[in-house]
Symmetry: C2
Subunit: 322 residues, 2 copies
């Protein structure tokens, strides 16, 4: 009911809607309408009330409420179940527990803040309250573990496409899973899976997007390499809208992936890449290689042309552009 | 203390040990000794007590108590933590939860009975109380997901070697993960992993061994294909001894694996295989191939020579011997 009232207020925005009309349209008492208005105000919605003309939504809080997201979501699979939290240790960790307990495919865990946000290979991900999008999507594709890397690429395309479309920033993908804006990291993707040898049980795809990090508060170890997709005070899009945009794009790309269109997604990836045709250094467990990143193959592996002309296929690692 | 008293009784078996001696050796009161004897009896240990000469162990229960296992375990990694249960849904499921919560490498979950025992790809595994070994080992090897299949092979070697050594039955391995006795399935291995794209977080290796299934009680759908490693009434080894033997062999092979000796383990696998040089049919998701299983390669994949002479590399699937 709260959501329905909010949608009515938004529909009439910036105009008024009378308590009587809400009461009639939604079939609830005037007292109930008033109570819901109080609850919305408690959540940070600015609502003007005039005894003669009714209620008017002045401002919505910058919060990732289910309320704010539901109306913006258009996906068939992704976002069917939304879990919106004020704070969580790690959205990936919670999503793994939920997936293990049988959560439906497309469940999304979103948090305002992560207290123990994770990056790849045990690294931490700085995830302060309200300064980014920290969320994880549960997927159950019928694929084998070797194909899981592809979904990191699919996700990178969805995130980059959405940032480009919605913020205007020229975001680019650094293989395999970073989204850069002006050469700095604005978003990262952490894919984790539960699998048997031949089949994936489920995947959790964690996405962290720096939205309007406070430059003064960024930890020194990432200050030189991190950036945000918008600057504080210059936001051209709300966090809720960007999140919904990404989930909608991901939903559509994921369906394409399931129906066999990975090659087309790979083409989009190549177009968005800032890694290809560059001299790069790739580091992984006990391995360090330099060369020109000439392409990625149909498995999502990076093809590195070394000085001696040989081509090395790299499945995963940390890339630095030289 | 209970374990110490039991070890003393076993040491003196089939002789007596006096309450006074136990009391002196272990530094506990005679009353405490008596109480521990009562508890051991409740657990199924048959203990004779004579007021003059003391206590004598007549018989140990056929139970997988930590008591029974600890003295038999020699591993450095595997079995350092033992969780012995009367009944569990699935040892793999519990092990996954424990691993997720940080359980140490080498933790073993053993249950007398699984009420929802799992086979590969969502199949059930018949796991009646006391009629088999149903257990799972938690491993944390520093490997990538593509190498996880190797640990199924390592485990198959450990299980087959132990069954051969301890029961005398000529067990053989059917690729990738079944152990056959006289052409029927006596044991299976279900490896599951939690992983990032490039690194495994942890593996759980589940092992189910039919020990002395009651032929009359075997579900009809597996009656034709299942067998046990011993026949009821003709046991040449206790379940506890076989379990400890497998864990000890696995511990040693796992250390070999970590130190780079997978090729040698693969040689042992080949020697134990009943799949190689046979006409086989391999079925997997949306795939069915026939051919001669000519070898497995260094990744653990089956190499299938088809009628037209081409060689197909199969990473996973169900093999039937033709």
């Amino acid at each position: 009911m709260e959501l329905k009232i909010l949608l009515l207020l938004k529909e009439k925005h910036p105009g008024y809607v009378s308590g009587e009309e809400i009461s009639r349209l939604l079939g609830v008492s005037r007292t109930a309408v008033w109570k819901h208005m109080c609850r919305l105000k408690e959540k940070g919605y600015e609502i003007e009330a005039h005894s003669k003309i009714g209620y008017r939504l002045v401002n919505s809080p910058d919060k990732l409420y289910e309320n704010e997201l539901t109306g913006l979501m258009k996906g068939k699979i992704i976002g069917k179940s939304l879990i919106c939290l004020e704070s969580v240790g790690s959205t990936n960790e919670l999503a793994k527990e939920l997936a293990q307990s049988g959560a439906v495919e497309g469940t999304v865990v979103v948090a305002e803040e992560q207290t123990m946000g994770k990056g790849r290979r045990g690294r931490t991900w700085y995830s302060p309250a309200g300064r980014g999008l920290w969320f994880t999507v549960i997927l159950r594709p019928p694929i084998s573990p070797v194909d899981a890397a592809k979904l990191t690429l699919v996700t990178a395309v969805a995130v980059t496409k959405s940032i480009r479309e919605m913020t205007g920033f020229p975001a680019g993908i650094k293989w395999p899973n970073d989204v850069l804006v002006s050469g700095r990291k604005a978003a990262g993707i952490l894919t984790e899976m539960s699998a048997e040898i031949e089949t994936v049980n489920h995947l959790v795809v964690g996405i962290g997007i720096n939205f309007n990090l406070d430059p003064g508060a960024i930890p020194s170890e990432i200050a030189e390499i991190a950036t945000s997709v918008t600057r504080a005070g210059e936001e051209t899009v709300t966090r809720a809208a960007l999140l919904a945009g990404i989930l909608n794009n991901l939903d559509s790309l994921y369906q394409d992936f399931l129906s066999g269109s990975f090659p087309q997604i790979l083409s989009a990836w190549r177009e968005m890449s800032v890694t290809l045709n560059r001299q790069v250094k790739v580091e992984s467990v006990g391995m360090s290689e330099e060369g020109i990143a000439i392409d990625i193959d149909e498995d999502g592996a990076l093809l590195l042309q070394k000085k001696d002309g040989t081509i090395k296929k790299v499945l995963a690692g940390d890339v630095s552009l030289r």
